[in-house]
Each structure stands twice: as C-alpha cells, then as structure tokens.
C-alpha cells in the first residue's frame, strides 16, 4: 500500500484546490448524457474538462513540491476520504439541474478570487496557470450566472427548485472563508476573497430574483482537515475502483 502524505505547506495549500477541481469534474462528468439539452451537455462536458485539466496541472505542482514521491495519478486515485482536501460544496450531488448550476456558480465566484491572487504569485508556473484558469472560470461563471437568471426568473417551479438548491448548498459556503495559516501564507489578501465573493453572489441574487439564505454560525467540520460530507466516500469508490483493484496495472 502506497501511503501518500502531503507535508510541504505549499503543496498542502495547492492540493485543496486541486482536489476541489477534480471532485467537481467528477460531478460534472456524471451529467454526461443527462443534461437538459444537447448544447448544455456539451457545455457541461467543457466545464468538466476544464476542472480535470487544471486539477491535473495543480497536482503536478503538488507532486513536484513533494519531490515526486508520487505521481498526480497516485495522488488522485490512491488517497482515501480523510486524505482528500476538497471543499464540501463540490461533493454535493446533481439532485437536479438547479443543483448543478448553483454549485457551479458558488464555486466559480470563489475560485475566481483565489486564482486572481495566485495569478501574481511568485511561483511562475502557478501564476501562468492561474492566468489561464481565470479565463476558463470567467466563461463558466457567465454560463452558470445566465442559467441562474433564467431559472430564477423562469417558472414558479424553476424558481422554487433553484432557491431550494441554494438553501441547501449555502451551508457549505461558510467554510470557504475560514482561512487558516496555510491559506494566509499563499493568498495575498484573504479578507478580499470573502468581500468579493459576497459582492459576486449578491449581484446574482439581484439579477436572478433569488433570496440570499441566512448566514448562520455552523459546525460543519473544516475541509482543510480532511472532513467531508458522506458523498465523498462514494465518489471515491467509483473513481478509484480500477487503480485500487489492479494496483500493478498502468493505464
């Protein structure tokens, strides 16, 4: 059994983002052949491909920072639930299409702010990657924003479903901003992230005629310590099955 422990603080910081993108990619991949229209199927695949792409690039940096003790694939396919550090938001299921776009938008606004700050990071490769990612996310954000407006202002049913998805997933936005020392080391201004995120989502609430759910003090166990919703374990069971079942195989 290969044991993958990430110890370098910069790698710890990056793997949080990498894991989040890969798990979101996995959720988007689930939508393949299940979208409302063929055009949307193609659009969601695009978003998924972008997630996997940047997830992989980030994982290469993580792997390099850990002296290539493991490959990016090892990192994705051989860590267990407690060794994953994705945000819980991206683990949430595709209960209906409203969940898909709400999850995407809340994520997009958040990572926009993260990558904006990383775009000027002194680590050249990371900075370059972040600049590229910002363009992808901008597209994704517009896409999910547009859908939220259409759903929020479409029919009674679409409004109700979208508000419901928001109410449920809102719970997983709090932890995004509970930055720890590691975050604060690599992000230039963590306060700005929360402030800008709030601007971004409030703009959407107004445009889509949706209600901002109440912010509450919660106890949901921090993703930075590898705490997850119960969904993650099930995602990993599928995702990791083959490499786990055939440990000697190359794919």
């Amino acid at each position: 059994m290969m044991q993958i422990k990430i110890t370098n603080p910069f790698a710890k910081f990056l793997v949080r983002i990498a894991d989040s993108e890969i798990i979101l990619g996995q959720r988007l991949a689930e939508m393949c052949s299940n979208a409302p229209t063929l055009e949307e199927d193609i659009a969601l695949s695009n978003l998924g491909l972008d997630c996997f792409g940047r997830g992989e690039e980030l994982m290469k940096l993580v792997s390099a920072l850990e002296n290539n003790a493991f490959t990016p694939d090892d990192c994705v396919f051989r860590r267990n639930e407690r060794e994953y550090f994705c945000i819980k938001l991206v683990e949430q299921p595709n209960n209906d299409f409203a969940w898909v776009v709400v999850r995407q938008f809340l994520h997009d606004v958040y990572v926009t702010e993260i990558f904006k700050q990383l775009a000027t990071n002194e680590h050249q490769e990371l900075a370059a990657l972040s600049q590229k990612v910002l363009k992808e996310i901008e597209y994704s954000k517009m896409h999910s924003f547009d859908w939220l407006v259409r759903l929020g202002r479409g029919t009674e049913e679409s409004k109700m479903r979208t508000q419901n998805a928001l109410n449920v997933m809102w719970k997983y936005t709090e932890e995004l901003f509970l930055f720890d020392e590691i975050d604060k080391t690599y992000l230039s201004d963590t306060d700005a992230i929360a402030a800008n995120w709030n601007l971004g989502v409030n703009e959407m609430f107004a445009a889509a005629d949706l209600e901002r759910p109440a912010d509450k003090k919660r106890h949901i166990l921090d993703f930075r310590k590898g705490f997850h919703s119960e969904f993650l374990g099930l995602i990993l069971a599928d995702m990791q099955y083959l490499p786990r079942a055939y440990p000697d195989a190359k794919w």
């Binding site: 689930e30 409302p36 794919w251």
Partner: protein, 311 residues
C-alpha cells in the same frame, strides 16, 4: 419526368452535390432523413456505453480523453441533427421518432460495456468501422451531409487512435489487462463487423441509395476493407482474432471470415438486445427529468421578449 427531376438526375450523374435549396425527389429526402437521423441518434445513444465508464476511468488522462470523446459525439449528434433539419424535419421530431422506436440507431450501442478494455474496443473497432463507412460518405450526394462527414471523420479517426492506444496499453499490460483486452475484442468483433449492415444481397435500402449516390460503397465491400485493415492490428496487439476461419486468402487477396450470426443482429435491431430498453429509457429520462429546465428557459425568453417590446 419533369424538369426538376431531370435537373436532379443530372446533378447526381455529374457527381455534383444536392443542396438544401435544390429540388429533390420525396423518396430521396426521406431516405436521407432516415440515414442522417440514424447516424445522429447513433452518436447520441453512443454516449451512454462510454459514459458508463467515465466515473471509473483509471487515470486523469484517460478520464479527460474519454470525456472529450463523448463530448465530440454530442457535437457530431448536434451537427447531424442540423443536417437533418436542412431536409425539413426538426430536432424535436427526430427525437420523438427515436423515443417511439420509429427511428433506429446503430445496433452496436445496445451491447453493454463490461470492463475498461471496452473503452479501447469501442474506440478502435466501433469508431473504426464507423470511419470506414463515413469516409465513403464524404462523397455522398447530399452536400451538407458530405461536408459533415469530412469534419466528423477527422475527429473519429482521432478517437480510433485513442481507442487503439487503450488496447495497446491493456494488451501489453498485466496478465489481467491482457485478458480484459482479449475479452473485449471477443465481444465486439462480430457485432462491429455486422455494423456495416446486411450482406449486399439482403440490404433493403442499398440499391436505391447507391443509385442516388447517398451510399457510395456496398456493405460487404466496406466490411471487407475494415477486416483487412484490422486483422494486422490484432496481430500487432498480440491478441487472437475471435474467428478460427479468419485467415489470409491468397486467391481473393482478403481475409476470410465465418458466416455472421444475423439472427442475433436482427434480434438486437428489433429491440431485443442486451441494452436496448435501458438506452432508450436513459434518453427519455434525461429529457423528462429536465423538462422543467427547458420550460423555464422558454418562459424566461418569452418574458424578456415582452419586456423588450414594452420598452
């Protein structure tokens, strides 16, 4: 024969393209709609057997390649639906025909994908067989369809290479991987050969389609071409052709093959294959589960139109 028909026949005879604005015989139009829609539906339904392994793709690269491939298929479907639309039928009507069982799709997609090696076999054999057919259709007489084939073929041959790459990886991998590769070949070999359709003598639409140059080569000719190309690849992989009679025939200059199980073929075409019901049900469910989204988008478009007028 009226002047339209003369002009049409003339275009066909000169190997020129029929375009949407051109007059065409009603049967030509119908025949084309049938063929193009079958092709479009195949792309769409074909997303499912591969989608089945998307969440389980065993590496980041494999996952991205597979997702991109399925996305291409959706794109091909979209493209082909729009070709059909130039013939005067809407996408909605086409999908309805699919759901009612009136329109078919390639029967191969009614077989289940049972191991990861099937992702290799589908790309290599199924896309491979499709390409052989599609290359010949680049010269089909209907302009939009011919042009779509040019573009689609490029992507398909990319898919086929990627499928073959998976086969190489598996066939040259661990004993279990090699076993999976052989098993996938065993299961997809004959069905992919039957993809070319019945023997020429038994092919219902063939002769008229050939006359109209919708179809440019016969089923058996294309099938033999595919076999001749693929057997050396099987040998390269170190796998065994799952047909003891498949040997090089010096006289004909082709590989021989055993007779096919046409009973199985027709049985699956008629809806009694391993996954027919599941494939159709999956497509219907995606449509009906998301009806509220399409309604919302429509309602929103209506509202914003009205407010545009009001301003």
């Amino acid at each position: 024969m009226d002047k339209h028909e003369v002009a049409f026949n003339d275009l066909i005879a000169q190997d020129l393209k029929i375009e949407p604005r051109d007059w065409m015989p009603e049967k030509y139009r119908k025949n084309l709609i049938r063929q193009v829609s079958q092709h479009a539906h195949s792309e769409i339904i074909g997303m499912q057997p591969e989608g089945n392994w998307l969440l389980r793709a065993p590496s980041l690269r494999a996952k991205q390649v597979l997702l991109a491939k399925i996305q291409d298929e959706a794109g091909h479907g979209l493209y082909l639906y729009s070709v059909a639309e130039t013939l005067g039928i809407s996408r909605q009507e086409l999908v309805q025909q699919l759901h009612e069982g009136k329109a078919k799709y390639s029967s191969i997609f009614n077989y289940p994908t049972l191991t990861w090696a099937d992702m290799g076999a589908v790309g290599w054999l199924v896309d491979g067989a499709a390409i052989v057919n599609q290359v010949s259709l680049q010269r089909t007489s209907y302009g939009p369809y011919a042009r779509s084939m040019v573009r689609i073929c490029k992507e398909e041959s990319f898919h086929q290479r990627q499928g073959f790459e998976i086969m190489v990886q598996m066939a040259k991998g661990t004993p279990e991987q090699k076993e999976m590769a052989q098993d996938a070949l065993n299961r997809f070999w004959e069905p992919s050969l039957m993809m070319f359709g019945p023997h020429d003598a038994d092919s219902a639409h063939s002769s008229q389609s050939m006359k109209w140059k919708i179809k440019r080569e016969s089923n058996d000719y294309l099938r033999q071409k595919f076999i001749d190309r693929t057997v050396p690849q099987i040998e390269f992989l170190g796998l065994t052709v799952p047909d003891a009679n498949c040997k090089w025939n010096e006289e004909t200059g082709h590989y021989d093959h055993s007779p096919f199980n046409w009973d199985e073929f027709w049985n699956v075409v008629e809806g009694n294959g391993p996954c027919n019901a599941e494939r159709l049900e999956h497509h219907k469910k995606a449509q009906s589960d998301n009806a509220w989204v399409r309604e919302a988008a429509y309602a929103y478009a209506q509202k914003t139109d009205i407010s545009a007028v009001a301003q």
